[in-house]
Symmetry: C2
Subunit: 102 residues, 2 copies
């Protein structure tokens, strides 16, 4: 079955990107051992000083959705909300192949 | 040093996505062993039937740029050009951390 993937974009309030990055790397640690999680990688946008991207790869969209229920995840989301400038955006994908994913 | 990353978006001519995906997975095989290449993953966009995304992670932007000179890569780019509807877009990034990248 094709793996589910997404690119998520978050725009931090001005000057809040580092704080938001800290929360996201904590989230990455929480979901790293979740069933079906292959990737959860956090990036800084090189052009936009307040933007953050995440790339996720999961066995299925259900595995991704379940991860939002992991203990600690909801708390991180609540902490992240006031740091965001606007609603996060996501690009939903299916993995075709390549290097870096088995 | 922070790793260089990018998300690339390509829009195929209507009905040409599968053909373009074949070329991109060939490109992934070519660059897989290039110096500094950690990821080169090819995706189908779930919402747009003609769109393809690639996520790449490299030790440096120089390693990425050098990969375009690999034998066979230029040929694949030439084959891909007529399959594209418009110019590819890229989002340049720096890796912060997470699961799936060492």
């Amino acid at each position: 079955m094709e793996k589910y993937a997404l690119f998520g974009k978050m725009m931090a309030q001005p000057g809040k990107r580092e704080e938001l990055l800290t929360l996201l790397t904590q989230a990455a640690q929480l979901v790293a051992t979740a069933p079906g999680c292959h990737h959860y990688i956090v990036y800084k946008d090189a052009q936009h000083p307040d933007w953050i991207w995440v790339s996720e790869i999961w066995d299925s969209v259900e595995d991704h959705d379940n991860s939002l229920q992991i203990e600690g995840c909801r708390e991180l989301i609540m902490q992240a909300m006031p740091l965001l400038a606007g609603k996060p955006e996501k690009i939903e994908l299916a993995v075709v192949g390549g290097k870096g994913i088995s």
